[in-house]
């Protein structure tokens, strides 16, 4: 395989939580803990996990809305984890992000034409009539007509707004797009249309996606490879096929068991989880999952597990497989 488009190597991000005004009792919240990921040209990597596990933080770190505390983010052969200013702007010119909520991700005071044109203006690539034509063609790609140029976001439905957000992301012809729960806020019928549209755009432009979602069915449908996150750390990665048919990590197994199945006779009794996710302010020692893991043993409480390859391209961080 050729060199990956995007590589995350042991990326960490902590947030300072100040307890009181004078800064005493300050604590660190570990949002992303030693996350390593790889995204190849033209593929979709699904990133799944429950709410608060740090999936969106990973997305924000990649597009450098946040700066990592340690680790490296290599995009298109360049380490972008420490860049800033003009160098950062140049390095991330080929990445974009689409957010979950299509209502707050479009400025209500800007016309659709201005919204889609903004990244192009910033890049300084087009002006005047050329700019207008580029905006019109970007809107056409997501199925919106020229008449939407002068209209404002509140005149559009959620699905249409997400199309506008896609048009904005694709106008600058990126190679890689972070999709941060792009369909979670939409009706099921609209979800399918947007997913279909994103697949078409990916095929047409050879885009790579990082598809962040808590909806396992959607991830299974759209991504070639999947990574599972728990408590700020990736616990298992593999091809979507392998991961969904033979999950290796107890957490992945529990997660898959929680997916609703339409057929009651098919209900399987995989591992069920007890208790709550530990506080990221106070991470458990050893493996982060051991307080809830039905299969935990002595070692899990003491040592963090190493990555193990259990099949080509299928890796898991769990002592059971050492």
């Amino acid at each position: 395989m050729t060199a990956p488009l995007l590589t995350l190597d042991k990326v960490c991000k902590r947030f300072l939580v100040r307890k009181n005004f004078f800064g005493s009792g300050r604590r660190w919240l570990t949002a992303v803990d030693q996350v390593s990921l790889v995204v190849h040209q033209g593929e979709t990597l699904g990133l799944v996990g429950e709410s608060g596990c740090g999936k969106s933080t990973v997305g924000n770190l990649i597009v450098r809305l946040l700066a990592p505390d340690s680790g490296e983010i290599i995009f298109d052969g360049r380490n972008i984890s420490t860049l800033s200013g003009q160098a950062l702007r140049a390095a991330r010119a080929k990445m974009q992000i689409v957010f979950q909520d299509p209502y707050s991700s479009l400025d209500p005071r800007m016309s659709v034409g201005a919204i889609v044109a903004l990244p192009l203006r910033v890049a300084g690539l087009y002006q005047g009539t050329l700019l207008r034509e580029r905006v019109i063609s970007a809107l056409a790609e997501v199925g919106l007509g020229e008449d939407s140029l002068e209209r404002y976001p509140h005149e559009f439905s959620g699905g249409q707004r997400q199309r506008i957000a896609l048009a904005r992301a694709l106008a600058v012809q990126p190679a890689f797009v972070v999709l941060d729960e792009p369909t979670s806020a939409l009706d099921v019928s609209v979800q399918a249309q947007i997913l279909q549209l994103m697949a078409e755009l990916q095929a047409r432009h050879g885009l790579a996606y990082l598809f962040i979602s808590h909806n396992l069915n959607v991830v299974r449908h759209v991504s070639q490879r999947t990574a599972v996150m728990y408590l700020g750390a990736v616990v298992e990665t593999g091809s979507t096929e392998d991961l969904f048919t033979s999950p290796a990590h107890p957490y992945t197994q529990a997660l898959l068991a929680s997916v609703p199945v339409a057929d009651p006779r098919q209900r399987q009794n995989l591992a069920r989880l007890k208790g709550d996710v530990p506080s990221p302010l106070d991470l458990p020692p050893g493996c982060g999952f051991h307080p809830r893991c039905p299969l935990a043993f002595d070692l899990c409480t003491k040592e963090a597990p190493q990555w193990v390859r259990i099949a080509p391209g299928h890796e898991v961080a769990c002592h059971l497989h050492q």
């Binding site: 924000n60 597009v63 450098r64 809305l65 702007r89 991330r92 010119a93 990445m95 974009q96 992000i97 957010f99 979950q100 909520d101 707050s104 991700s105 479009l106 400025d107 209500p108 005071r109 800007m110 016309s111 919204i115 903004l118 990244p119 910033v122 890049a123 002068e150 209209r151 404002y152 957000a165 904005r168 600058v172």
Partner: protein, 296 residues
Amino acid sequence: MPYLILASATKSTLPAWVRELGLTLRILSRNPSAVLGGMIIMTMAFLALAAPFIAPYDPIMLSLPDRLQSPGSAHFFGTDELGRDIFSRILYGARISLTIGLLVVGVAGITGSLIGAVAGYFGGVIDNVIMRCMDVILSFPALVLALSLAAAMGPSLVNAILATAVVMIPKFARLVRGEALAIREMPFVAASRVAGAGHLRIIFRHILPNCLNAAIVLATLTLGDAILIAASLSFIGLGAQPPTPEWGAMIASGRKFLMDQWWYATFPGLFILVTVIGFNIFGDAVRDVLDPRIRR
């Protein structure tokens, strides 16, 4: 289905802000205090604009034989000690007072909004330094600070306007800062940042336009105060200089005659009162209508 057809048929091709303005005016027209305040303001604006056509006399020309006439058919509001028609002077004074109000609010609104947007957007040390400076201004009573500034700059109408504007800046800065704090966390700002937009572009394209509603409400509410403070400065002699027919200055010169010629100071005073009340009533109503947090 007929509803859908109706909705698409009435969809106008007007720009969004025109439609929004129309909607706002329609809501305002259902609010009695907005109508009352609006009527007062429009009357004043009309008198100011039409002053040359309505005023029976020249506001500045002296006519000593007619000095200190009591109100009557020849002079509705009487004359002053130099024989000038007070009614005509009040009409021309409306021009000055309204212009002062708009200038003060314009200067303070633009400066204050820029300061507040910068403070709220950048946050941290910049925010602290800027807002503590604003607190210093706010810690003085508005009139006292305006008075000392005007005195320091020297008596003239322009200086009075500038002094009043400076006093009003912190109000706008605080308001816009609060809005900017919320807006900078919105995903559309993050999207622009990923696209490479710089701070200036984000402040001017996202933060300021989204503060506009709140700033307009505050501007309406502040207009009355601005007129009052500017009139007070003129009353003390730090603002408009004779023979300018400014309301505050007219009260000041009429003060000496208050015992025997009551009309001299009373009529300009009434006009200040009515104008300020008009702006305040209208401003309250606009706030009720435009502020989504207290919209009913």
